[in-house]
Symmetry: C2
Subunit: 124 residues, 2 copies
Amino acid sequence: MQKLSERIGRGDLMAANCPSREVLKHMTSRWGVVVLIALEGGTHRFAELRRRIGGVSERMLAQTLRHLEEDGMVLRTAHDVVPPHVDYCLTPLGAEAASKVRQLADWIEVSMPRIAAQWEKRAS
Amino acid sequence: MQKLSERIGRGDLMAANCPSREVLKHMTSRWGVVVLIALEGGTHRFAELRRRIGGVSERMLAQTLRHLEEDGMVLRTAHDVVPPHVDYCLTPLGAEAASKVRQLADWIEVSMPRIAAQWEKRAS
DNA sequence: CTGTATCCCACTTGATACTG
DNA sequence: CAGTATCAAGTGGGATACAG
């Protein structure tokens, strides 16, 4: 598979059925970014993650974790006890992914003053 | 503004009204990634970009370009002639943004074999 | 040529209730 | 505790027609 930047302009770029599009969606989805970064801090349980992140519904957290698990970025470990106890942590692949999205997120935060300045300029 | 990675776990992270969330959405939207990378190749006209990218509707290309322009990443230059002639290119800020999303996209492409292997493992 | 306006649908997300 | 099921609401994106 060639790199994206080498395929630009050849018409087949990031087509709807391109598998990497799915991965990008999972990584940059509403909660994907935050889950990846939260798990950089170490292993966490479901409810613990939910509190740590804040504002995410059970449904969306479960869905986000399942997607990331399917992509091989999150490792889900269910201890067979009652009440249930499930741990989530990053795989080595997931750690790389988390690093990449954090670099992007951090760039945005650092650049926000410049972006906000542009917004105000247009508002005037 | 603190960096994202330093705000995790304090409850206010990436709230729905967080302005950086908007920027992230524009940069990682269906066509935002591709437009940014396409413009790394230099200045392009509207129809030229549309052909170069392929598969994007006029509506979505216009919307994507307008968002990126509002965020100060794309510079739109309209030459006042008939028929209309409009050029698009990256600003310095946009060039940084394009580099970041390309790094992420390239990582995904390079990592696709590992991800696809995980998909097949689950399918079995 | 470079868009805008309109309509429409699929998909994402959220709220709530329920279960093993 | 750790989810799933269901329903309601909002959003992103495409097709088409039209305008400056």
